[in-house]
Amino acid sequence: MSDSELGRKWDRCMADTVVKIGTGFGLGLVFSLTFFKRRMWPLAFGSGMGLGMAYSNCQHDFQAPYLLHGKYVKVRTE
């Protein structure tokens, strides 16, 4: 992986983290105000979900070049 590609991946990872945490927080805020009587736990839950999804995406993005994809091939023995 070249340095520029690594930098682009980090930029994408940071942007993705910001968007996902913000989205999770926003959805948690909406559900907290509408259904859960202004409790704090939906905001924490949504932010945590967003953070976890962003971390998973980043991990997959960085590991993708090094993962080997194989398939099973049935061999007929006669």
């Binding site: 980090w10 930029d11 994408r12 940071m14 942007a15 910001v18 259904f35 962003a54 980043c58």
Partner: protein, 116 residues
Amino acid sequence: ILPFPACRFLIKGSVAGGAVYLVYDQDLLGPSDKSQAALQKAEEVVPPAMYQFSQYVCEQTGLKMPQLPAPPKFNFHVRDSWNSGIIKVMSALSAAPSKACEYSREGWNYLKERIK
């Protein structure tokens, strides 16, 4: 005619459902490149929209709002910022002993002149 609790539930459900649909439609919780594209689109759309809204408020209320400064850019490159930060920290650390000697010498000369 629906009873009041049912109306309230429908309104709340529609608000929450609309939020969920907006997230699904914009693909905000999807792959990272879609999230990055959504962030760039928001960076392009939000400042002009805020400026137009402030102009509308000024026209309706007759208030004269001062010119707001330009909004900060969200799309900065983490790698460049990190690299420049590391370079600045390392150059400051390498120059720290000589700077400390120089400042202490200047401080000592100042004290000697004050004591005279």
